[in-house]
Amino acid sequence: MAERRLRVLMAKIGLDGHDRGVKVVARALRDAGFEVIYTGLHRTSEEVAEAAVQEDVELIGVSILSGAHMALIPPLLEHLRAHQADDIRVLVGGVIPEKDRPKLVDLGVAAVFDQDSTIAEIVGWIGREFGLPASASPSTAG
């Protein structure tokens, strides 16, 4: 009767103060059956890496709307490596220009979603990435 549930940490790194989007995604992930640790606004990449280790999450979802993703994501990946936790996958969402996406992926980000991505797309990607049954669907997303 083992019960595994995907643990996901959702974070806002940096200065932008909009957390509506990340909260909507957090709720959708809960509705898809995931356990979501929400850490609030204005986190540093160091805080996020440390929290991800203590919470033993398999995935970190970072939302950055300020445009500072190229400055904020590399330190996060570095801190994860420093914790020997670079097996934790990182998903970036927010306002990410087309040209930056391959760069983020090269750095080690598992996936990039922009503001036009639907919640179903995000949940679908997570499900495939972690080999979860497709039955987990975000019924009340949006």
């Binding site: 009767m1 083992a2 019960e3 595994r4 549930r5 643990r7 957090a26 709720r27 992930l29 809960r30 509705d31 898809a32 059956g33 995931f34 356990e35 979501v36 640790i37 929400y38 850490t39 609030g40 986190r43 160091e46 805080e47 440390e50 929290a51 280790v53 203590q54 919470e55 033993d56 914790h83 020997q84 936790a85 987990a136 019924s139």
Partner: protein
């Protein structure tokens, strides 16, 4: 038998072990067996109270006070799971972020999953792990459903019940079973109007309450009859054996001499520990020093009165019996599934030909015979 190789300095491994005890009962058994000899040193403090009353903010403040004394502090913060999806949003950590980067603080969020008593099924095992990893203080924050959260009483040495001004009247609190589980009562958000009235109300309720409401662990020190009378009904149902057996244990000898001589143990306990009512403003730290000092004083009281040992022994016994009950229930269910005769009884009950009591009795007879 699985063996577990543990590096007690490795936080990542600690985090992973907690996940394993959450997800896999077999792994939990092996892990707890491996760490058990190292447990027993930590102070386990439960923090319970209705949703939004400030539990996490109080926990954050307590972390700071305990750290100032050099204690290593761990937190297990439980939030509810969605009954529909089984998922959860765990948000307690947000209130404790200033301790991020402190290598002597470890905070873990935990979903309640199917548990209903305020903690998750794995919370106790996780606390054992943190204890073995040499955390001196373990703070257990309950879900905060506002119901009687008895789990915390079964997992902590000291239970802090938090309430806020204007949150329901005394009858509601009595119904919620607050008095039965509290060692300390805290009126948080004392910056809001009505805090004094709420505190006064609580003190009045405590005066009117039966003796030594918080001293559930003291059950062992009183006679069998009163032990049963004073346990909550749930306790009596769940562990009648222990309620009686505790009275014969050596804990009676550990009671204060005056209490034994007077022959009114429960009243003596009551004199020894009067449940304090404290006011705090967790957001700015007002009253938190007094709260921490009172938690420490309760710890001293438990130790000097012998109740610390008594509570812990009772807790372990309960944990064992619960595990046996769970295993038995699982075993029964699997046997039920394999016996057509029992299916017939169930079918008759479903059809309304047999009342639930008689059906259960028939099934039991069947199982106990076979």
């Amino acid at each position: 038998m699985r063996t577990v190789d543990i590096d007690f300095a490795n936080r990542r491994q600690l985090a992973r072990l907690i996940t394993q005890v959450e997800n896999d009962p077999e792994a939990a058994a092996a892990i707890v067996r491996a760490v058990w000899p190292r447990t027993g040193q930590a102070r386990r403090i439960g923090i319970t109270g209705p949703p939004g009353s400030g539990k996490s903010t109080v926990v954050d403040q307590i972390i700071e006070r305990a750290r100032a004394e050099g204690a290593r502090v761990a937190v297990i913060a439980v939030d509810p799971s969605s009954p529909f999806s089984g998922g959860a949003i765990l948000g307690d950590r947000v209130r404790m972020l200033r301790h991020s980067g402190d290598a002597d603080v470890f905070i873990r969020s935990m979903a309640a999953r199917s548990a209903v008593g305020g903690l998750a099924a794995a919370t106790r095992d996780a606390a054992h792990l943190l204890d073995a990893f040499e955390f001196d203080v373990i703070l257990l924050e309950t879900v905060g459903v506002g119901q009687s959260e008895l789990d915390v009483m079964r997992a902590a040495d000291t239970v802090v019940v938090i309430t806020v001004p204007g949150l329901g009247d005394s009858i509601q609190m009595l119904k919620a079973g607050v008095l039965e589980i509290a060692d300390l009562l805290v009126v948080n958000k004392a910056d809001r109007p009505g805090a004094d009235e709420t505190a006064m109300h609580l003190r009045e309720m405590l005066r009117m309450a039966p003796p030594s409401p918080g001293a559930v662990g003291a059950v062992g020190a009183v006679s069998p009859a009163s032990a049963v009378a004073r346990s909550t009904s749930q306790d009596v149902e769940r562990a009648p054996v222990s309620a009686v057996e505790w009275s014969t244990s050596q804990d009676v000898e550990r009671a204060p001499a005056s209490a034994v001589a007077g022959g009114h143990l429960s009243q003596a306990w009551n004199v020894a520990w009067e449940i304090p009512v404290l006011k705090t403003v967790a957001t700015d730290g007002t009253g938190i020093d007094a709260l921490w000092q009172t938690i420490r004083r309760h710890r001293e009281f438990l130790r000097e009165s012998g109740q610390l040992g008594a509570r812990r022994r009772q807790r372990v016994e309960r944990e064992v019996l619960e595990k046996v009950e769970q295993a038995l229930a699982a075993h029964l269910r699997s046997r039920l599934a394999g016996q057509p005769g029992l299916g017939e009884i169930l079918a008759r009950a479903r059809a309304g030909d047999l009342d639930p009591h008689s059906a259960a009795r028939a099934i039991l007879d069947h199982l106990l015979k076979g």
